[in-house]
Amino acid sequence: MARLEKLFSHLENIKEQYFLKNRIAEENRQRENEAAVKIQRRFRGCQVRAYLRHLHKNATLIQKIWRGFTARELFRQRVNTAYFIMKMNFYNKMAVKIQQRWRGYYVRKYVHNYYARKRYLEGVAKKNDLIRRDLEEFAELQKRERERIALEKEEQEKNIQAQRLHFLLSTKQCPGVFNSPFRAEPDEMELRLRRVKPRSAPKERKTPKMTPDLSNLMPNRERLPPIHKKPQGPFRPALEVQQQRLRPLEPSLRVATSITALEEAREELKRQEWRTRVIDQTFLPFSNASQNKRYESLIHTITPFEQVAYGTKHFREEPKECCQGKKPFKTVFTTCHVFDKFGRLYSNAGNIV
């Protein structure tokens, strides 16, 4: 109970204290609130920052690893490409070297072959020389030919001249113009005169026989002399008479053929046959071609190698030597009178109805 008394004494104090403390607390509320907020603020900030730091660290780690990975890949790719390019460059250079050598070789051998060109030009020069020589020879030949022809013509003309002047030939008694006695030897013309035959007198040219031209009004051909001096009576027109007199021979066919015409024709046929017939085999018709062909045996063998006729064409035996002289087998017999009375007997016993 003492304690209760003490407590009741303190009651006022407590109430006062209570209101005092409330008042102090009320006064400090704002400040403490603010302080608490501050502290919370700071703490939350730290917390969040720590969290963010953590996140950042992780993200960085991931990104670091990832970037390293990708970069290494890229690097590998770049290394591959660089290697590839180096290889290709090398190959290209080598290919260029090969192509260089090949093109040089090819062009020197086929396109601009120096030695081939040289040989060609030498060939051209040789051919030119050949052609020049041939042409010169040809020209020479032609010239000689022409000169020869000219000479021959001259000879010919001189001979004709000599023929015409043949009367100037010298005789024993009287030397001719070209054979003067004061010359050492006779002139060339004289020798020619001696060589050449004299020209005969120009022959009468035969007038070509002309058929009587009726279109011309005047008949001016040579007339035969009239048969009677005095005119005798009514005459046929002179033209007709002329035609009749000068009518050519018109022989009939029988008269015109010669007597031996038949023999001559035969001879002619024989000669033609002798001339034209080349093949001695007769021409056999096609319808029996296989039967008509004969097998021609070899020259070098003795055996005929023919198809044996016995067995294919006929089956009878050939006549052997033993039956040579004998008469052939008779195939006709004397008749036997068995059937003479067949159908003619007096009884109808055996007749078939």
């Binding site: 060109r117 060609y120 051209v124 020069a125 051919k127 030119n128 050949l130 020049r132 032609q142």
Partner: protein, 507 residues
């Protein structure tokens, strides 16, 4: 009057007519009589005699008319105007062979003078009648008809086309195969006249197989026939590559080369023309000709001939050399250059000189070897003289200049270039200096020669604008020599030295 006396009158008249016509025909052979005959009015008198009853008078009248028309074109026009041609054409179909020959002679004489007269002949239907006469048996008639057709076709392409349309060419090819030489000659000449105008006509002639027959006649001994054959072949070959190839395939070489030694100069000229027309088209054809030795034969031909006959040979060498440098070298190897140099010197005609200059240009323009071959023959000074000669034709000067330029651009043969330095005008000197500038840096002996012969001095005297090409060449040449020498040879050096002496103060 008795019958005989009446007939006597007619006989006298006939004799008189015959004598008149024969005398006129004989007089017409001499040119001096023709004027008199024309003034006496012979045309109007001869015309009715063409319709005379007696065949010999008709023929002789036609012959006289033909001779008159042959002489000059006034008379030929008078024949046309006098309406004689239709009568002749009509009787060409009807009468006997002597008359046909005489009528064809008149047609030929009229058609030969001018295209209008030939057209007049064609207009009166002469072509069909002439074609019918070409089918006759008598070779004289065929010859006269073929000659008339040739004279018609000669003038221009239209008339040739009209002749071809009448179906003449196969008949002419048949005529060529006949044995008579005169007929062959005339048929070949007609084919040549037809084919010369255009490629289509040449193709028509080729399609009838004319080439083979013409080729067979190459070695015929008759000179006039050969002239016509070669002329025909060259007129055919000139139009296109295909026909030229067909002509070559007919194997005329090397037989045609033998005809280059023929005594007749027109045969030789026509052979060379044929070769020229063939080589003109492609390098392959030129190659064929070179391989068969044609170049040497033509070079020899140039040596044998004179004047205008040389022209086809020169052009042939030019065409061959123009195609490729192999062929140009072949021309050089066949000794073409000395022969062409002789031609350039001997010939006086401008067109021949122009052709020779052109040929040199074609030979020398390929490589330094070729240019050297041309320069060694001492041709460049002659070309320069031709170029500088103001009297020659413009065409000749232009060709000489072009040839000179193209040779100089490849020439490295210095002894030939040096004389040109002194005489040439500036546009030529430019090329010469260019060549020197190419050669001198590499050849010490040449440099020495250049100085001692005075070339360096001349080069210094050339005035050139700075920056122009020639200045660059001069600089290139100057840079081959030490500076003192260049200064020594520069113009005005002695004056500069003297001035220095004057200004020098002795110590």
């Amino acid at each position: 009057m008795s019958q005989r006396q009446v007939l006597q009158v007619f006989e006298t008249y006939q004799k008189a007519r015959t004598q008149f016509v024969q005398t006129v025909a004989e007089l017409a052979t001499r040119p001096q009589n023709i004027e008199t005959l024309q003034n006496a009015g012979v045309m109007s008198l001869l015309r009715p005699l063409l319709l005379d009853a007696v065949p010999t008078i008709q023929q002789t009248a036609a012959l006289a008319l033909g001779r008159l028309a042959n002489y000059n074109d006034d008379l030929a026009e008078a024949v046309v105007k006098g309406d004689i041609l239709p009568q002749l054409v009509y009787s060409l179909a009807e009468q006997n062979r002597f008359y046909k020959k005489a009528a064809a002679f008149v047609l030929r004489a009229v058609a030969k003078h001018s295209p209008e007269l030939a057209q007049a002949v064609v207009d009166c239907g002469a072509l069909d009648a002439l074609v019918i006469s070409l089918e006759e048996f008598d070779p004289g008639v065929k010859e006269a008809a073929a000659w008339a057709l040739g004279n018609i076709a000669r003038h221009n392409g239209q008339l040739s086309q009209a002749v071809v349309d009448a179906g003449v060419v196969p008949l002419l090819v048949l005529c060529i195969q006949e044995p008579e030489i005169a007929l062959k000659r005339v048929a070949a000449s007609t084919l040549s006249d037809i084919a010369k105008h255009s490629p289509e006509l040449a193709q028509t002639v080729v399609d009838t197989g004319a080439i083979a027959h013409l080729a067979q006649m190459i070695l015929n001994p008759d000179a006039k026939l050969k002239r016509q054959v070669f002329s025909a072949l060259s007129q055919i070959a000139k139009h296109s590559v295909d026909v030229a190839e067909m002509v070559v395939e007919a194997e005329i070489f090397p037989a045609a080369l033998a005809c280059l030694k023929d005594p007749d100069e027109y045969v030789r000229k026509n052979v060379t023309t044929l070769i020229r027309e063939i080589t003109k088209h492609t390098p392959e054809l030129s190659q064929i000709i070179v391989n068969v030795g044609g170049v040497a034969a033509v070079v020899d031909y140039l040596g044998d001939s004179k004047g205008n006959a040389r022209l086809p040979g020169i052009m042939m060498l030019g065409y061959v050399a123009a195609h490729s440098e192999n062929l140009a070298m072949a021309v050089i190897v066949s000794k073409g250059v000395p022969q062409l140099a002789i031609c350039l010197e001997e010939e006086q005609e401008d067109h021949i000189k122009a052709a020779t200059a052109w040929a040199f240009g074609q030979i020398g323009r390929h490589t330094p070897e070729h240019a050297r071959a041309v320069a060694v023959a001492n041709v460049l000074p002659k070309l320069l003289n031709i170029y500088l000669d103001s009297e020659s034709l413009e065409d000749l000067q232009v060709k000489a200049k072009k040839a000179l330029k193209s040779i100089l651009q490849k020439c490295t043969y210095l002894p030939a270039l040096e004389p040109l330095l002194y005489e040439a005008p500036s546009n030529i000197v430019k090329h010469v200096v260019c060549q020197f500038s190419k050669v001198l840096p590499h050849d010490s002996k040449a440099r020495r020669l250049f100085v001692t012969s005075g070339g360096l001095k001349k080069v210094q005297e050339i005035k050139a604008e700075p920056g122009s090409a020639i200045q660059e060449y001069i600089n290139a040449i100057n840079s081959c020599y030490p500076e003192e020498i260049v200064r020594y040879y520069s113009p005005g050096y002695s004056d500069a030295l003297l001035e220095r002496i004057e200004n020098y103060q002795p110590v």
